[in-house]
């Protein structure tokens, strides 16, 4: 013990002596990871944490698909099934997708805008280290007498108010996740607005930076609203208030309004950074500048604005004045316009490009195709008159899984493969990356496409058992689910191989067509990069030429 502390003391003196030494990392594990303020280390922590959560949430999905493999109750009790659907959603949304994007933001934003680090490095450390505690609290409910939360991730009252003691843990876990996200967002905004290298004007920023800037504003605007909503649930449950209790003069429908005022921007929080990543990758492998750069920026901003005025399309069936239904229906359909602009621009970027199909490009193209399918089923759901039939069926499940799995998750995979050589300095196995892609892309469709038919035939969501007429499609869907789940182990294998085993070193540029400031650094980049701001040169920048 004493030897160790002396050792780290020596290290500090050493660090002070060689302050200008580029690649100095703290050598003790505690200093390197627990007390780190380095954006690259914190980015890695976020990414590893979210990958762990992806597998925990994914194993819950496997329980769900195993139970739904056949009609009847085979493996789990209905109450445990409900806990699995609820926890799967909470963990995937707040534990996997959101922290993964924050991880990308931490790693890439300072390198993309030529900043030495994030604006508020100590707060950055705190925003990450809250998360393991939040999710330990959330997961601990599974081992309590009352079990985990089972009222769905939307926590609708009155059902959620019938939860046992676990409810307080769930609410505080959500509070902590919210605080973490808000701090992370403040950091991202401060970094982007204050720390750009000289010459990096707003309309020269890479699109990933732009989409994250807008996402961060969405997070600051809506995470506190969710915190308020769950606080009201908490006081209704434990302190006798009646915000959502009809018997006491409250209204459970009001919860749905507050929740979805958060919930709809939340789904764009998960997808906007995906738009950004795909907008980085497609130009690289099409070897053409992004088509319609400024249109992309304005489309992202429009989607973010519209996300605040469409929330009630999640609740067309609660009983709403006709004008309300019409307003929310048309406003929702309006989102198809900026989203269509984006899809058009990605396709136009590929048009007559010299395309190659490395793994990141495959995932990015998979994203464009499959996300669009999810977008189109979203348009169908936006029609208030037919939503009365689709509401709470597997059609909705198919829709949001298409935009979240081959949407957000594929973009995360694409980004991971794209920047993995930059982060590690080594090439991953292209062969196994491609196997991972093809298995994922095929199985994700076997998994989710039949769920459209199940929903149209009337199968309700969130149930452990179903009528025999739904048996065939459910079995197909489950088989797809198992293949998809198993395929993700390949992803871990590729990463572990790349980090520890790969002998093929990566160049600074990594990809022939890559443009942007992160590629002028070595691979892996020095521990402290851009201590002196880079000179912005139009040839190194992806969007420096504003004429296109």
């Amino acid at each position: 013990m004493s030897i160790e502390s002396t050792h780290s003391h020596e290290d500090h003196t050493h660090a002070a002596d060689h302050d200008d030494h580029h690649d100095h990392k703290p050598s003790s594990l505690l200093d390197r990871w627990l007390f780190t303020t380095n954006h690259k280390d914190i980015g890695t922590l976020y990414l590893v944490f979210s990958l762990l959560m992806f597998f925990i949430g994914g194993s819950m999905a496997m329980v769900i698909r195993a139970e739904l493999f056949m009609p009847g109750l085979q493996l789990v009790e209905p109450d445990f099934f409900n806990q699995m659907t609820t926890m799967h959603a909470l963990i995937m949304v707040f534990g996997a997708v959101m922290p993964a994007w924050v991880g990308f933001a931490n790693w890439m934003i300072p390198m993309m805008i030529g900043a030495p680090d994030m604006a508020l490095p100590r707060m950055n450390n705190w925003s990450f280290w809250i998360l393991p505690f939040a999710f330990a609290m959330l997961l601990s409910t599974l081992f309590m007498d009352s079990g985990g939360p089972a009222a769905g991730w939307t926590l609708y009252p009155p059902l959620s108010l019938q939860s046992g003691q676990n409810f307080a843990f769930v609410v505080f876990a959500v509070h902590m996740m919210g605080i973490s996200s808000i701090m992370g967002s403040i950091n991202v905004i401060a970094t982007i607005l204050n720390m750009r290298a000289p010459g990096m004007t707003l309309l020269k920023m890479p699109l990933f930076v732009w989409t994250w800037l807008i996402t961060a504003f969405l997070l600051i605007a809506v995470m506190p609203v969710l915190a308020g909503a769950v606080t009201m649930l908490l006081t209704d449950h434990f302190f006798g208030t009646s915000f959502f209790n009809a018997a006491g003069g409250g209204d459970p429908v009001m919860f749905q309004h507050i929740f979805w005022f958060f919930g709809h921007p939340e789904v764009y929080i998960m997808i906007l950074p995906a738009f950004g990543v795909v907008s980085e990758i497609i130009p690289t492998f099409a070897r053409k500048p992004l088509f319609g750069y400024s249109a992309m920026v304005y489309a992202t901003a429009s989607i973010a604005f519209l996300s605040f005025i469409v929330w009630a399309h999640h609740m067309f069936t609660v009983g709403m004045p006709l004008t309300g239904e019409l307003f929310f229906m048309y406003a929702t359909m309006l989102i198809a316009v900026p989203t269509g602009v984006k899809v058009f621009n990605w396709v136009s970027t590929m048009w007559r490009g010299s395309m190659t199909f490395e793994t990141p490009m495959l995932f990015a193209i998979g994203f464009v195709v499959l996300f669009t399918i999810g977008g189109l089923s979203g348009l169908m759901l936006a029609i208030a008159a037919v939503d009365l039939q689709y509401h709470d069926t597997y059609f909705v499940v198919a829709h949001f899984h298409y935009v979240l799995v081959p949407g957000a998750v594929f973009a995360l995979m694409a980004g991971a493969y794209y920047w993995l050589p930059k982060w590690t300095g080594r090439m991953y196995s292209e062969k196994w990356g491609k196997i991972h892609f093809w298995l994922s892309a095929i199985s994700v469709n076997i998994l989710f496409f039949p769920q459209h038919y199940l929903g149209l035939a009337g199968m309700p969501r969130r149930i452990p058992d179903y009528s025999t007429q739904f048996a065939d499609f459910n079995m197909i869907s489950s088989v797809g689910g198992f293949i998809f789940g198993a395929s993700q182990l390949i992803f871990v294998g590729v990463i572990v191989h790349c980090v520890y085993k790969s002998r093929q070193t990566a160049t600074g540029r990594v990809w022939e067509g890559a443009k942007g400031l992160e590629w002028i650094l070595s691979s892996p980049p020095p521990y402290h990069s851009f201590n002196t701001p880079p000179v912005i040169d139009s040839t190194t920048m992806a969007h420096a030429d504003e004429s296109h």
Binding site: I186, N194, A221, G228, M232, F243, V253, M320, P321
Partner: protein, 193 residues
């Protein structure tokens, strides 16, 4: 370099303060939804909020137009009562004072108290719905194995929009958890003394 650093820290401070204030403001906005939603409900009649309760209302002139009123009855799972509308629906003229009867029964041995909460669909119809007397105005106590007819006196104002042809009036009975049947019997015993 150091001067630039100081400048940068200062502008971080300003920006971060603004963003934190925004977050706190949005937390407040979540709670502000509560009064805002109430105002919205009062304006649109959502949640049956438009129903007027006037005990000695002057009934307007009866009109030729008729609408169908449907009666719905629900008991919250916390209250083991049987509760139903005596007639599922009736056709009334606008401006006509009408009476609807509900039937409530307490099949348990002990006395219980329930409070009925109402709702009206379509929401805008509630703006034209006037009740002069209703069992939902006060808490209802049913002794063990007692059943009782519970009346509602109401009329629909004649200026009801043309597109509304059917109105549903729905009640849900909730249990008063604080009601103590022993205190009631003790109280009535002492008064009979």
């Amino acid at each position: 370099m150091n001067e630039g650093q100081a400048k940068r820290d200062q502008s971080h401070g300003k920006l971060v303060t603004r963003l934190v204030l925004l977050a706190i403001g949005m937390f407040g906005f979540g709670f502000a939804m509560w009064p805002l939603y109430n105002v919205f409900c009062d304006l649109t009649g959502l949640g049956g909020r438009g129903v007027k309760v006037i005990e000695n209302a002057t009934v307007p002139e009866k009109s030729d137009r008729q609408v169908k009123i449907r009666f719905d009855a629900t008991v919250n799972s916390g209250l083991p009562w049987i509760f139903q509308a005596k007639e599922k629906s009736m056709v009334v003229s606008l401006g006509e004072m009408s009476e609807a009867l509900y039937l409530a029964m307490n099949p348990n041995d002990q006395a219980m108290a329930g409070q009925a909460i109402y709702n009206v669909t379509p929401p805008e119809a509630s703006l034209y719905f006037v009740k002069t007397e209703c069992f939902c105005f006060t808490e209802q106590v049913l002794q063990g194995n007692e059943s009782r007819e519970m009346p509602v006196y109401y009329f629909i104002q004649p200026d009801l929009p043309e597109n509304i042809k059917e109105i549903t009036l729905s009640y849900t009975f909730y249990r008063d958890e604080n009601f103590d049947p022993l205190a009631l019997t003790a109280g009535s015993a002492s008064s009979s003394d």
